[in-house]
Symmetry: C2
Subunit: 495 residues, 2 copies
Amino acid sequence: MSKIDALKQRLYDLNAIGSANAIMGWDQQCLMPHGGAPARAAHQGILSRIQHEMLTSDETRRLLEDATAEAESAEDKALVRIVQRDLDLSSKIPAELVEKQSRLGSEGHELWVTARQNNDFASFAPTLEVMFDLAKEQAEYLGYEDHIYSALFDLYEEGAVKADADRMFDGIRGPLVQLVKDIKDSGVQHDDSFLHSDWKDQDQLDFTAALAKTVGFDFNRGRQDTAPHPFCTGWSVGDIRITTRCQEFLGSAIFGTLHEAGHGMYEQGSPMAWDRTPLAGGVSLGVHESQSRTWENIVGRSKAFWTHVLPQLQQAFPATAGVDLDTFYKSVNRVEPSLIRVEADEVTYNLHIMIRFELECALLTNELAVKDLPDAWNAKYEEYLGITPDSDSNGCLQDVHWSGGMVGYFPTYSIGNVLSSQIWKVLANDLGDVDALMAAGNFEPILEWLIDNVYSKGSSLKPGDLIQQVTGKPLGPEDYLDQITTKYRAVYGLS
Amino acid sequence: MSKIDALKQRLYDLNAIGSANAIMGWDQQCLMPHGGAPARAAHQGILSRIQHEMLTSDETRRLLEDATAEAESAEDKALVRIVQRDLDLSSKIPAELVEKQSRLGSEGHELWVTARQNNDFASFAPTLEVMFDLAKEQAEYLGYEDHIYSALFDLYEEGAVKADADRMFDGIRGPLVQLVKDIKDSGVQHDDSFLHSDWKDQDQLDFTAALAKTVGFDFNRGRQDTAPHPFCTGWSVGDIRITTRCQEFLGSAIFGTLHEAGHGMYEQGSPMAWDRTPLAGGVSLGVHESQSRTWENIVGRSKAFWTHVLPQLQQAFPATAGVDLDTFYKSVNRVEPSLIRVEADEVTYNLHIMIRFELECALLTNELAVKDLPDAWNAKYEEYLGITPDSDSNGCLQDVHWSGGMVGYFPTYSIGNVLSSQIWKVLANDLGDVDALMAAGNFEPILEWLIDNVYSKGSSLKPGDLIQQVTGKPLGPEDYLDQITTKYRAVYGLS
């Protein structure tokens, strides 16, 4: 057996443990009875520790060293590079902390679900406090140069530091705030009341599953379920799972599904030969989010898309039958400061992210105490969006991330927004009249382009290298601001 | 930390890996998209090997040795006894064989589903051949005194050897064949046509879930889904999953659910303090089956049960509204030689088991080749039941067991049938008018008695010791033959 193959055998073992943890996480969010929570937390904690111990063992080190000396192809070099990074990062963290964080993440999820249901921040606060304490401990073990935030941010976006996020937000904050103001000042309001009703869950699930299939999500290699907080996960190129949720606003299921289908198609687009190795799957959370936002917003909120889909929607939901295309298009591109991030429009969305980013930084540096989070959260919403949450459930309890211990994650959403426009510009240039394709319901060339240029690369390139290779330049806000300003000035008839 | 606690920490780790494998198996049978099969097989194989390596490691041996020296309470002694047995059995089997069998079991399941759908035994035969070859290899590693079958039988029923199965079947064969003949000769036929229709799946699922709840299955610590072949599994006292299937015969879902709920309540009845240790859960497959058959047959096919439940059924399925209790009772106790084991009536059921037992023995001793299995199967059905399968799908492809590598399992079904009557006799004696309880829908005293006397013992006693303790005698066919003969002579008006 070659040294590379010997390493791969070890990676397959690690992947089996990681996959087991992933399926446990999926099950917990989608199906698990409440009584299963304590054992699930214990199981997930133990599996995380075992995986960590296996990864950082002398055996893995030796296999990696031997394989590195032998690696010649770009693929093999990429593989050993990724494993080396994982091993280096993991080696800095004690196994006990890994188990503790994983276990608390699983327990925290249950507590968060209940706290959000009951609008009871106090019941969740002690756990959240421990969660942030562990995150700080983890960051100190990992080390950082400029700011404690960077240590955690880098886990989700290789190579990124806090200053990168600052620069990105500085680049988009002014123009976005101005655009929101211009839209407000215009006095124009687009009605979407016809999308609000007591739609049947099953009708929503049937329609959105068909929609996911239409854009190219492969149900032979995946499925869709419901979850309180939509997400995408998977444990094989052949088994990628997306979720959605059914609410009285029909757009919630529709755009939630398109978003998760975007993540899902990215995962499904990895070469099958890389299955169960670290080469498969999306390269970073920012690049991942660029693809979910592409399918949710650039495709899913375009007039061309609805030219094709609106008749189907009106057949599935006859109550929407009287609405014409232009009215419908505007209804799904309403801009209005709102409380819930995942329901936010494209223009205000990044403001939600900036709020979370600033609060995370303050919590990590002890400028803010967890007990004061609700007040700080509400003050930021007033500052950035001019509205105050009516409850913690619709405020600082709305997101799943912190409950699972994910701190330093949020800026990747804005990276995704910005990057989606940058990649789409190249795609549209290559494919020609992309609106005509979408209006004809022909999404295959779009998906094929994305597979060729992005999805089939899996994790083999560093995020920055992938962006450079695909778009010919580093990540920057110009294309995003250009696209969003042009679109929304038209939607709101601004000069 | 005490030596017992140190051992438990190790057992929790082993349990986490085993639980991961169990949830993967559940997901495969209930939800997994077809494309997930190759990775699932690989994952399950790897997890089985890792669990095997951890169990048989020097570390576990040392922890077990230390704990054994320290064990004083009955509970601790039971724990070290069980772990010692697992370790001794596992130590005889090479890790590679464990991985191979687990992987093939996962692959085999997919192949079996397809082969059964397409009535294509030939496509499954090569895999089944390897499966039996591996089973023989495993049996030789395990060792046996009298017969190769005993090595595998013991894995499912501690201490049992082939001669025990022979004796049991010899004890019941004659009376059962005679009873089937008497019923046939009587010329009486009970109609159940009103239970056949194109019932909606959702209605069946709603009704049977309510039924499971009625008898005491706790949905806060479990759930019900659908699967091609109903089963029960779990990975915590707090998370036990049952499945059912919806067919045009309404009894399929009803009795399938009651059967699996019986398994499920047994698992849910273990002390929570034993959760995630080998002390929790049913003690052997035979004792387990005694509980599924108790709830399916002794409770679920009694007139008292339907006194309570028939009005609910008739409300949920108005097409059955005209049927009176006596007619209904007889309809669900029809005796008729049939092709499908899991749909078989109580009287003919064990004949299905004897067929499988004899074929397994012949396959293990090379008296029968896998390629000749369909013919041998059909000949046995003609011999025992007087009917010949119309297809392999309704013949030798009907059961899930061999596809997953489970050889030596079937006799535990007959042990369960026999034991259910033996335990019920004691229960009925203790509780007094148990029919009155059931007719009033009061199943709690029955469940409580079973929890006290059987379920709360978990795996702490050897199966034979448990049977002796609960019923005051070893397993024997008398109570079963008495109960079944009395019941069915009445149902068929035989003198």
